[in-house]
Each structure stands twice: as structure tokens, then as C-alpha cells.
Amino acid sequence: MAFTAFAGTATAVAEPAPRRRSPIALLLLLPGIFYLILFFVTPLISLVITSLQAPDPLIFGQYVNAFNWQNYVAVLEQYWPQAIRSAGYAALATLFALLIGFPLAYFIGITLRPFPLLQSLALVLVIAPFFISFLLRTLAWKQIFSVEGPVAGILSSLGALPPGVSITGTTFSVVFGLTYNFIPFMVLPIYATLVSLDLRLLEAGNDLYGSPATTFRTVTLPLSAAGVMSGTLLTFIPAAGDYINASREFLGATDTTMIGNVIEANFLVLQNFPAAAALSLILMAFILVLVAAYVKRSGTEDLL
């Protein structure tokens, strides 16, 4: 999968060595697998157990192990708007990130190919946001969009924004923040597939089909499909679970809360652990079903 984009490593050239059976494999695998079982699989099991817990009849605020599957029904009844909103926001953010990210990746990977130094510089600019804290970047947008900020000022002087109406705390600002924050995750995998694209294919396409639009549709797009797929997954997954952009301290308001905010609130504030666990598992199941369907449709079984 084009996660490799981050590493900037080239694609495979030589045929890989044949796989052998050896006890060394076990030695190499065991520590990491043990780690994953201890800190990924067991927490998931803990989550499942927690999600089925019932309130302790004796001590208020404590929970005991049970098989209280009604927790799932309860959280869905209570939080379905946030769940749907999360999916919607994440989908919108992914779409916008693709609209902004694909041309950008094309620009860096293909247009800039004759200028290697400019190309590396452009790549650095895409990665640059990673190096400034995620939270500070989001706060910066909040302040740019705030009532005293430049954007609101320009818009209201143009009469496009009624005075006193804020841009932050809206669906727009949350989707905007999500889009902004995850654009590099979209650009890098697409860039990785485009950068290794043989330019002669494009030339051949222009030769055979004539119109650049047709070449793009019949050659460029199919060949970058793998990158687009990892890019959309890498954007959608964190966006669906994000709660920074949607939280009130950042770009959101009470009516823009996403499922992440609800999980956080239930876990860290309300200390309603079963509800938080049930919501987490619902979110994870939703994403896994989506990933599986997506992978199946695009025919790339080998995700890693």
C-alpha cells in the first residue's frame, strides 16, 4: 500500500527473494506480535467486555461485568445523529481532500518531474504541516475564521456575512478543518503512484486517444487508482474518528459534535465507560466494513 509515500522509498525493482521456512522467522515475529496482542488485541477484548458492562447496583458510577447488549441499542438511540454526522463529515472531507489533493499530487509527480529540486521542495511543502502541531494549525484556522479575524472582516464588509454571525462552529468550519488536516494523507500516496508512472504511457495515450482528457481518464486515472484508494482510506479513517476539529474549543460547536467527541466525553468526562466502549466498537466495525467493501471493489486484496 502506498503508505510508503511517507518514506519516499522507490518501488520494488528486483524480484523478491523466495520465502523460506526457518525458526528465525519466529524469533523476528514473536516480540512484535506479542506486543500487538498485548496492546491491540487484548484492549479490543477489554473494549468488548466493557461495552457489555452494566452499572453496579451498589456503588454509583461503577460498572460490573455483564452481558448488557442493550448498551449498543442505547448508544445508537442516543447518538445516531452524531454517528451519521461523522460519516457525512468524513465523506465530505475526503471528497474535498481528493479534489484538492489529486491535482496537487499530479503537479508534483508529473508536472514537476523535469525539475527534481523543485519537486523535492514541493514535496517538503506538502509534508510541512506535519511539523507544526496539529492542534496549533487547527487553532490558527479558528483564529483566522473568528469574528475578529480577517476572513469574517472581509466577508462582512462585502455584505456576504451578517454581522455577529460566526464562521467557526459551523458544519463548514469543521469540514474545512478536517479537509485541511488530512490533505497530506491524500496527496502523498497519490504522489507515490504518479511519480513512478512512466511518462511514455501518457505520450502513448496522447498519441492514441488524442485528447488530454481522454488520456487522463483512460491512462492516468486507472494507473493512480491504488494511490487514490490508499489516500481516501488514509483520509477517511482518521477523519471519521476525529474529535479535535469538531470540538467547541476548536472549529466546532455543540451541534457539530462527531462520534469521536461523544466517545471522548463518555470516557473521560462522564466516565460512562460501557457507552464509550460500545460506540468505539460500532465505529470500528463501520470502518472495517467500509474498508473491506472498498478493498474488494477496487480489487486490491493485498493491502499491505
Binding site: 522509498t9 527473494a17 506480535i33 508534483i108 496539529f134 474518528g241 470516557f267
Partner: protein, 265 residues
């Protein structure tokens, strides 16, 4: 793309770059803001914040914690991940597909779920939350990224080189340290840098598992409500410039090497 399309893509991309860089410019600019308590409104240029970074309460301590966590998680994740990557490419073993799935799953799991799951686990096991639990949590989510990054490097490694090593009297251990490892090093370094960046900037998983300890992102999160001190901008800007400088140096020296190679050929 010809003619109009060519200009359009340049214009569009430059706009996209500006869009990407606006909040960075904003953050850097406000590190020079002569603010008293909150750093929201521009009130004049000063170098004061840069000179007295650590005077704002807790900023430097949080930064130090983040560094410590980043380094520890990077070492752990890179070691474990590299081992798995080599095994995945080079060996046949039982439960291969299950292992691949196990490595892929954490990447497909939203951070809230990972954070909440680990927190629930630590809660049940009675482990006190703090820097230690944050390191363990970060190692987990960095691990998968390391495996994927290093794996592609192992795949592209020409097996004939290791065979040549064996043919030239190098024992399996020597073949690994003198041939395999140096060849994988660029991939391992890239994976380590990625791990560090992911860990350093992580907030969500950290927030579930940090207990009372404060990292740099969690410091910003808490401070956001009452206004971030300009010193936080100073630290973020400094990290940004350092990272960009390192990346640029690496890129430029690679370009210089390319030119030298072209000349030698």
C-alpha cells in the same frame, strides 16, 4: 496537459500550497506577537517569546515529555517493526495472513478507538497512567507504519547481494549486519522519522492514556480554552524550522550526489 491546462495546474497548485501554508505562517507569526496573556490579537512584534520560551508555565516540561515519549516509542516501534517486516518478506510461516491482518488493523482503527481500548485495558489491569503508558500506546500505532515502510524496502532488496555475501564467506549474522542492514537503513531511518513525527504530534491517543502527565499537544489542548501562550508557538515554530532544515539538507545533498553521479558516469 497542454496550453491552458498547463497554466491551470500551476495556478491551482500554487493556491493549494498557499492554503496548506497559511496556518503555519500564522503560527510562526504569532510566535513573535507581543502578547500579554492570550495570544489572539496581534499587538506588535517582539523577540521576547523566543528568548524566554521556558518561562511560560509548563511549556518546556510538556515539550520535554513529548521528546522523551517520541524517542522511546520510535526506538521500540522501529525495532519491533523492522523485525516483523523482514520476517514478512523473507520467510514462510503459519498464520501469515493473520499476521498481515493484525498489522494492518491498527492502521484502520480510528485513534479514539485505540486510545479508548488501551485506556480501558490499563484501567482493568490497574496500570497507573502516565508517560509510560503513553509510550506503550504510541509504540502500538507507530508499529504498523514502520512495518509498512520497511517492508517495501525489504521487498526491493536484491537477494543476489545477500547471496554474494554468503558466497564470500560471510556467516548469516555477518550477512545481516554488513549487507542486509546497511541496505535497509534508508527505509529504517524513514520509518523512524515517521514514527517520531506521528508520536510527537499525537493528541488523541495520548489524551486517553496520559493520566496527569502533560505532552506538548495536550498542553496546547488544555491551554486552548484560556488562550495559548506565545511560547507554545515558539516551540512549534522551532520544531518546524528544524525539521524543514533537516529535510532540505537531506534533499539538497541527495541532489548534489545525483549531480556528482551524473558527472562520474
Amino acid at each position: 496537459m497542454k496550453g491552458f491546462g498547463k497554466y491551470a495546474i500551476w495556478a491551482y497548485s500554487i493556491m493549494a500550497f498557499v492554503f496548506l501554508l497559511i496556518p503555519i505562517a500564522y503560527t510562526v507569526a504569532f510566535s513573535f506577537n507581543d502578547s500579554r496573556r492570550t495570544n489572539i490579537i496581534w499587538s506588535g512584534f517582539t523577540l521576547e517569546n523566543w528568548l524566554t520560551v521556558c518561562e511560560a508555565q509548563g511549556v518546556c516540561e510538556a515539550f520535554g515529555n513529548s521528546l522523551l515519549i517520541g524517542v522511546a516509542a520510535t526506538i521500540l516501534a522501529t525495532t519491533l517493526g523492522t523485525m516483523i517486516a523482514i520476517a514478512l518478506v523473507r520467510y514462510r510461516f503459519r498464520f501469515r495472513n493473520a499476521t498481515t491482518l493484525l498489522i494492518f488493523l491498527p492502521m484502520a482503527t480510528p485513534e479514539v478507538v485505540l486510545g479508548a481500548g488501551l485506556a480501558a485495558q490499563f484501567l482493568q489491569a490497574g496500570v497507573p497512567k502516565g508517560i509510560g503508558t503513553v509510550i506503550l500506546a504510541h509504540t502500538l500505532f507507530c508499529l504498523s507504519f514502520v512495518v509498512v515502510t520497511v517492508r517495501s524496502r525489504v521487498v526491493s532488496l536484491n537477494p543476489a547481494l545477500e547471496e554474494a555475501g554468503r558466497d564470500l564467506y560471510a556467516s548469516p549474522v555477518q550477512v545481516f549486519w554488513r549487507i542486509t542492514f546497511p541496505m535497509l537503513l534508508p527505509g529504517i531511518v524513514a520509518a523512524a522519522l515517521l514514527s517520531f513525527a506521528l508520536s510527537f504530534d499525537d493528541f488523541i491517543i495520548t489524551n486517553f492514556n496520559r493520566g496527569a502527565d502533560v505532552t506538548f499537544p495536550s498542553y496546547i489542548y488544555t491551554a486552548a480554552a484560556r488562550g495559548i501562550p506565545a511560547e507554545a508557538n515558539v516551540i512549534a515554530s522551532a520544531v518546524f524550522f528544524l525539521a524543514i532544515a533537516l529535510v532540505l539538507i537531506a534533499q539538497l545533498s541527495a541532489a548534489a550526489r545525483r549531480r556528482q553521479l551524473a558527472k562520474a558516469a
